[in-house]
Symmetry: C2
Subunit: 264 residues, 2 copies
């Protein structure tokens, strides 16, 4: 049997309108979706009738499907002749293990096409109304995870010295340790910092403060998955952000577009 | 007169299919487009009939429209009651001066809504078939411009030490200087490096080599605008990238989707 094609599709930060036209086409073409846990159920508006939905959620601290199992399932569906959509939040090549999945499938002779998506860090910047690379403040932006594969730390000292805006993914469970590491790396305590949870979604929440007060975002009710931002440009959040929704407490805002984060 | 709304729209790297559904809606709603030079003419497929097209191209070394003039023109169209699309390549909050334009318009009482786009660095990674943050190689990625506002250099030493993949925008005119700076910063000469010109477009071209040979990309015919990538993950380019198009010479590939880069 001729194996099916696999689309490795990034559906963006959560708002179904932030899906690309190409992703929408791929999602409609697929007969099987293998869907990550953080992909909103609302994305099913792009599915053709009768599409098989396979949840393959992985989330820290929860019973989850292993990476090997996800790859084996994707391969099996493709080898059965189905056109498959491997559906991921954000961009599949940024913290998505998309590279590993694509390499595995190609080693098995499967055609893979990757469709870029809006990374949630970009949507978090949009939510705050800041430019990640405003030329008055910095010359770049670094997207980083709070811990590496072997659970070691990134080189916070080099990152702090880089002068780039730091956009930290998957950091909420280690937020106090990140604060301490950046302070020890010589970053000033009053460096502007912010946290955005569920960027672009109806239940989006924001917190803004400083590096020193960063862990207070937890007490303000923000939790994983969320994006942490640290850098001079974050100071623009207060002056530039639109305020389309009611405030829910000092320094915290809720809002966003018509989507819902839920396991499919 | 009630002023019109301004959509600050990122249309992505060039392929019209990599526009988001929300961007397509904004582009159709606008009656006036103010369009950057690098936005492909093919994007006009999203315009409603009768839309006024205003080119406001800026490109290094060419006769161009000043940033102040772009902002003044956008404001004037909005104050005339028109719904305006300020159309930018990539993502408007990443190297797009979107933050400055949004702040200016809001100071003048204009409603601004920013629509994220796929940054061309992500499309360049897709073109090469690499994950920018493959966990076996690194814990993050840095997007940086080759020179800052005052034409000073970024802190290449800190960037090299950060261990992140470096994605360098607007660097082709200074590619030899970038190579020298990274070598002097202690990065090894055989660090994998690549260049992607017109990522996602029909005239996309790729070059792959090492930091030491980086400037050879110029001789291979790659020129501005292009994305330079340096880091361990770039070694995956050869093993993972699909090869949908004929090779045009050693280490250089052409290909991409159905779009065309041209001034509107």
């Amino acid at each position: 049997m001729q194996p099916g094609k696999v689309w490795l599709v990034g559906v963006g930060p959560g708002d179904p309108e932030l899906v690309t036209v190409k992703a929408a086409r791929a999602l409609a073409e697929a007969r099987v979706w293998l869907v990550d846990d953080l992909v909103p159920a609302a994305m099913q508006c792009y599915a053709s009738p009768g599409t098989q939905m396979v949840p393959v959620g992985k989330r820290g601290g929860r019973c989850s499907v292993s990476q090997a199992s996800i790859q084996a399932q994707t391969l099996a569906h493709a080898q059965a002749g189905h056109c498959v959509a491997r559906v991921k939040g954000g961009d599949p090549l940024t913290f998505g293990r998309g590279g590993e999945e694509a390499a595995f499938l190609r080693e098995h002779g499967i055609e893979v096409e990757v469709v870029n998506g809006i990374s949630s860090g970009l949507a978090a910047a949009q939510a705050l109304g800041i430019a990640l690379t405003h030329r008055a403040y910095c010359h770049g932006v670094t997207f980083v995870t709070a811990h590496t594969r072997d659970d070691g730390d990134p080189d916070w000292r080099a990152l702090a010295a880089s002068g780039t805006t730091l956009v930290i993914y998957m950091g909420m469970l280690r937020i106090a340790a990140i604060r301490d590491a950046l302070l020890q790396a010589g970053m000033r305590a009053d460096m502007p910092a912010a946290v955005v949870m569920h960027a672009s979604c109806r239940d989006e929440r924001q917190w803004a403060g400083t590096l020193e007060t960063l862990a207070e975002a937890l007490a303000a009710g923000l939790e994983s998955p969320a994006i942490i931002m640290v850098g001079e440009v974050v100071a623009m959040a207060a002056s530039c952000a639109p305020l389309p929704h009611a405030e829910e407490g000092q320094g915290v805002r809720a809002g966003g577009s018509a989507c819902r984060l839920a396991a499919i």
